[in-house]
């Protein structure tokens, strides 16, 4: 079944087509949600809210461009709204200053997707959102500033701090793996 048939079936309100659409995209979209959420239960909430919006706004899809991209934007926006709701909480937690760490991206290849997602989920809230938007989704700092209602400079600084934090973690992993290999 092609995408157009799937969308038209959902527009008719067919439960069967809705299920198929969910099954086709839920895996990728859940991974997107996991990157933005603080926990897997938050991610599940975002996924559910996102799909409610997808089915509710399906008639607004113009059949131009990628349908997956359209769903992804809805998921990202839903995740951001969720993030903004929890912002106060995040501000209470505060950010501690992070030490500089050497960049060692090779460690990334040794980790599975689930481990990388888990690593990202451990990023402090503000860093995580900016890192996801800029580094993975490809948004510009101006767009991020507009979306989150922050200064561009804040977006840049949070991205930098996120990278440092990730590099520090990856460095630690790399070191541990090296030690393990050495002892074995």
């Amino acid at each position: 079944m092609n995408e157009t048939e799937l969308i038209r079936g959902c527009l008719r309100g067919s439960a069967k087509y809705q299920r198929q659409l969910y099954e086709r995209f839920s895996g990728k979209m859940y991974a997107v949600c996991l990157r933005y959420a603080r926990s897997s239960s938050d991610a599940a909430d975002i996924l559910q809210d996102g799909f409610v919006k997808v089915f509710g706004k399906l008639d607004q899809f113009q059949f131009q461009g990628s349908f997956e991209g359209w769903i992804r934007r809805i998921m990202v926006n839903t995740a951001l709204r969720n993030y903004q709701r929890q912002r106060f909480d995040m501000e209470l937690n505060g950010y501690e200053s992070l030490p500089d760490a050497p960049v060692s991206p090779d460690a990334i290849s040794s980790l599975s997707e689930a481990e990388l997602l888990a690593l990202i989920s451990r990023l402090p809230e503000g860093y995580r959102v900016v890192f996801n938007l800029v580094a993975i989704e490809g948004y510009s700092h101006a767009e991020v500033a507009n979306l989150l209602g922050i200064q561009e400079s804040t977006s840049r600084s949070q991205l930098t701090k996120a990278r440092r934090w990730l590099c520090e973690q990856l460095e630690g992993i790399q070191k541990l793996e090296y030690d393990l290999r050495k002892t074995s």
Partner: protein, 460 residues
Amino acid sequence: MEQPNHIDQAFQNRLYNAEQEPPAFVWDNLEAILRRKRRRLLFWWFVGSGLMLGGILYGLNHTSQSDTLAQNSVEPSIAQRSNDVPQSKSGVSSDLSSTVPDSDRSQNQNKITNDLSKNAQPEAAVQSITNAPDNTASREINPIVLDKSGIQEDIKSAAVLPEVQKTESEALQQVASFDQLKSKLNPVNILEVEEDQELPHVKIIRPRKKKEKNACYDFEEHPNVWFVDAYAGPMLPVRTLSTSNSEDLNYMGLRESTEKTGLGFNAGFRASMLINRHFLLRSGLHYEQHTEVFEYADPNFVEYTVKVRSELINGTWVTITDTIGVEYGENYQKTYNRFGRLDIPLLAGIEWRSGQTGISAQAGGSLNLLFWKRGTILNPQGEPQVFTPSGTLAQDVFKPRVGASLQGSVQWFYHIKPRLRVYAEPYFRYSLSPFSLNSHPIKTEYSFVGIQLGLTKILD
């Protein structure tokens, strides 16, 4: 755009198209939300259809009323014209108030007769006479109307002519007899005269249709007609649980003590064919929905609260589960179980009428098209478990469709307009097969008692 550095690039390559299996409950929740939306949509569809049907019925009815009004409006125009005829010109308005010499009477007799036939409106005549002076000079009456044969005889027989030459007061009294005359004139075409012409152009005014004054349809004239019904009303399910296995009696007792049937509703559309004035064939779409309340308190309920987290220990991600709380107590659960059915009834009946009211009795079968259900009941192990077909770990309790049922009803109706009835129709419906699956230990059977309150439009 920010140029991605190699860390960004590495993460993007690995994660942009990453997939993770979402928890199963997300789809269950989502499906419940979508189902609610669909049901809301269905509800508004029913409301919209009902309003549309009501609008159509009103429109049809209004159109037939407008036709009657349009026909009625012809007569005042004639009356108006007769009033507007100038004194200098001959016509009934002035002629009635004139004193006609005896010698002219006989020769003008036929002419007057014709004039009267044109102005056969008592109101117009009264107006003309009232406005006329008492001592108006004698005038010659010109023939202005040519009429169809038969009119003169009618008028003569009504004995109007001799009275025309009398005084105004006498003439006024006599005008009342125009009512009788009017009824005689109605069946034929009346000719209307252009004012300025001696031999006028004539315009045919269509005879007025007989107005249905009584709010009752003429079934003698139309013995075979179609009815369209739209109805809704309350409904009460009568549920029977039974089991053939004595071991399941305890479970059946638990079911009976935890489930209560509640009120429901019915709604639908129906088309009926009246044959030979009295016999009916009816079919349509009939929807019924009812609610049952499931209430259960588990006295031995224990709830554990756990915290699951991942930690990087010695380079390996480890999932750690901590039990952070245990609660003992009674778990109370209340669920509104809902059952909806869409059926096609096929009924035969007979109708008796008396004036504007009447009754009909009908009976027949009904075939189930759709049976949806949602809720929770105890499973044979005595634990609450959903039976919604799409639910996670749902137990199989009910059939996908519930087959045929027998139905009988008696309708009382009243004609509020000739082609529009209101009615109340109590009905009883008995399902021929149980709603539960044969594999389920408890047999669940239903009958329904309800009342349909509706409108019937007669189409001919």
